[in-house]
Amino acid sequence: MSDEEKIRLKVGKENPFKVPEGYFEDFQQRLLSSLPERPSEEIKPTRIPVWRKARPWLSAAAMLVGVVILIAALRQTNVLNNGAMASNDETVFTEEEMDYLASSVFDDYTLYSYLTNEEWL
């Protein structure tokens, strides 16, 4: 006879535990009446982060920086040396370079305002 059979013969398999009267019916009612709200999919208003609003300006500024770096790098290799207003040791831009830089970021009116300092007149 196996150990399991011996245990079964000696002790049996009856459930020795009991529950309070009406427990299972009460439990079901109590549980169903106290179920929490299931997390639902809320439609949240779309908030545009500040960085996204500033992105066009940031892109423009990044482009300007990129152009400056590119021109400086090219000048190092003497590619744009023709018409330089100063010696190669200085980082000075030609008139063409200045025009290009200015027009790439600012429109004519903004540039005019800046150059004539209308705000401070």
Partner: protein
């Protein structure tokens, strides 16, 4: 009552039918889950709390249930985790000296919701000496007569390991009753 699990799962996910479908689930599985928990924690109030936690977790996480297993398996898995977590927490706070032969880990004699005879009480005391997971294997096989394949899905353990665990548990219990058997 044979439940159409596929239909029930569909209804559980639909907001309009979720509550009534959940009521079907609760009605079907309250008792088996309760006894699964009670045999582990022994105390009625503890089993009641864990049962409530089990169903609330099932209710709030039904959308996360992939349907890869039976709903009953999923529920048993939640209940099992609740029981094991509870027992681990309890063991961490209640230290009982293993050298103290008079120390009874469970006082079932004083429990108004324990109706067993002396041998049944001694069996429960013997089961308390087993590691929680091994005790669970014994309960599921001996009392619930669950198939090893179903136990494997609930406990996440291989059939072979479960068979070995049950065999060892039976040996230990038999040794406990050595003088009687």
């Amino acid at each position: 009552m044979a439940i159409n699990e596929g239909l029930l799962l569909q209804q559980l996910r639909e907001p309009k039918t979720a509550q009534s479908a959940f009521a079907v689930l609760v009605k079907e599985y309250t008792e088996p889950l309760y006894w699964h928990l009670r045999r582990m924690v022994l105390d009625h109030d503890d089993a009641n709390d864990l049962l409530q936690n089990t169903f609330i977790k099932a209710w709030t996480n039904i959308d996360g249930f992939q349907g890869n297993s039976k709903i009953s398996t999923w529920l048993y898995r939640i209940a099992t985790n609740e029981a094991l977590t509870f027992l681990n927490r309890q063991n961490a706070t209640d230290f009982i000296s293993l050298d103290d032969e008079d120390a009874a880990p469970v006082n079932l004699e004083a429990d108004e919701y324990f109706d067993g005879d002396d041998l049944q009480r001694r069996l429960q005391e013997a089961l308390q000496t087993l590691p929680p997971k091994q005790r669970m294997v014994f309960n599921m096989k001996y009392f619930d007569e669950m198939k090893y394949e179903d136990m494997s899905e609930v406990l996440g353990t291989s059939v072979g390991a479960l068979k070995a665990s049950y065999h060892l548990a039976v040996q230990k219990i038999a040794a406990f009753f050595q003088d009687d058997i």
